[in-house]
Symmetry: C2
Subunit: 191 residues, 2 copies
């Protein structure tokens, strides 16, 4: 991804995190990115294009965060904790990404054109978590693991739900991390 | 609750489910409820008042749904399943309530004035689930259950997250029910 595109997408995420998807105005977005509205339309075609690209960008950023948080030599159990818990942090950029991701997920309820991108990015995340869970189980039991897609779907859904509870002021970020750790333990204990 | 107030709140929920919280216009809401905008302001004071009352109303409706779905003579384990699964149904009114609840939760990220109501309604739901889980555990083990608030927080969060995935087109309602059942089993197995 070129530097300029990245800079523009960072601005899109900031504006979505600040005003929500429904509050996203191309004018404000262009001002935040310090480019012309014409350039925005050139890059993204229309408002739906902005949202789709923002979603793909958030997905790339999340994957990069996970890669950064999980060194290759970590044991599978620790890697599983880290890759899920990395999404629940109060650091400003993680918080901003959480809000924007939640907004895009919520707006897909009303905007079917976002669903395909959302489905494929979510599917990749679920597969990744299922792969690491399989390593955990096979390392511990020394035999092939059963299908873990359901468990991975639950854990990733829980990450989304917990981040929403935190962002809407129901509980602290520490509590969400504690709850998620408990869920990972419960899922692994029943395999 | 008087019939007229209930009729107006039904209209609020329909409008929120259709256009989202950010799309809620008092004019459209009044037209949907077939009352004057003056009456809306009289009942709810302002837009934030509409959202707060809509949230309380959804909470009352959800409690009524649960009561309806769970006969008093059901065994605790079946009652637990029913009271959680009742939230994941494709029936039009449940779908509408899910969308509106999700929208109100999402908008609390941007509107702190909604948080107090959201916190107390969510807290009551969590306590109710924890109470039924306690009955399940004490019936099965014949000894006092440990604190089950965490497990109840996870299961209710999962209900919210799963309904969002369903509404945003990621998976079918049947799949969400299957995943939730799996989570109930996993939580109970690790107590």
């Amino acid at each position: 991804m070129r530097e300029r595109e990245r800079h523009i997408l960072d601005a899109a995420v900031r504006v979505i995190a600040e005003d929500g998807v429904q509050g996203l105005r191309i004018g404000k977005f262009a001002a935040e990115a310090r480019v012309s509205t014409a350039l925005i339309y050139h890059y993204f075609e229309d408002r739906a294009g902005v949202l789709r690209h923002a979603l793909e960008y958030l997905d790339l950023r999340a994957a990069a965060h996970i890669e950064e948080a999980v060194p290759a030599d970590l044991c599978p159990r620790a890697a599983l904790d880290r890759m899920l818990l990395v999404e629940l942090q109060s650091a400003l950029d993680v918080r901003m990404h959480c809000i924007a991701w939640g907004e895009l997920r919520a707006s897909a309820v009303f905007a079917p054109e976002l669903r395909e991108t959302l489905r494929s990015t979510t599917g990749e995340w679920v597969d990744h978590v299922a792969d690491v869970m399989r390593e955990v189980v096979e390392t511990a039991h020394g035999s092939p693991a059963p299908d873990l897609t359901g468990a991975a779907e639950r854990l990733t859904t829980l990450v989304e739900g917990l981040s929403k509870r935190w962002l809407s002021g129901y509980c602290t970020i520490e509590r969400t991390r504690e709850l998620l750790s408990g869920a990972i333990t419960a899922e692994l204990a029943t395999i």
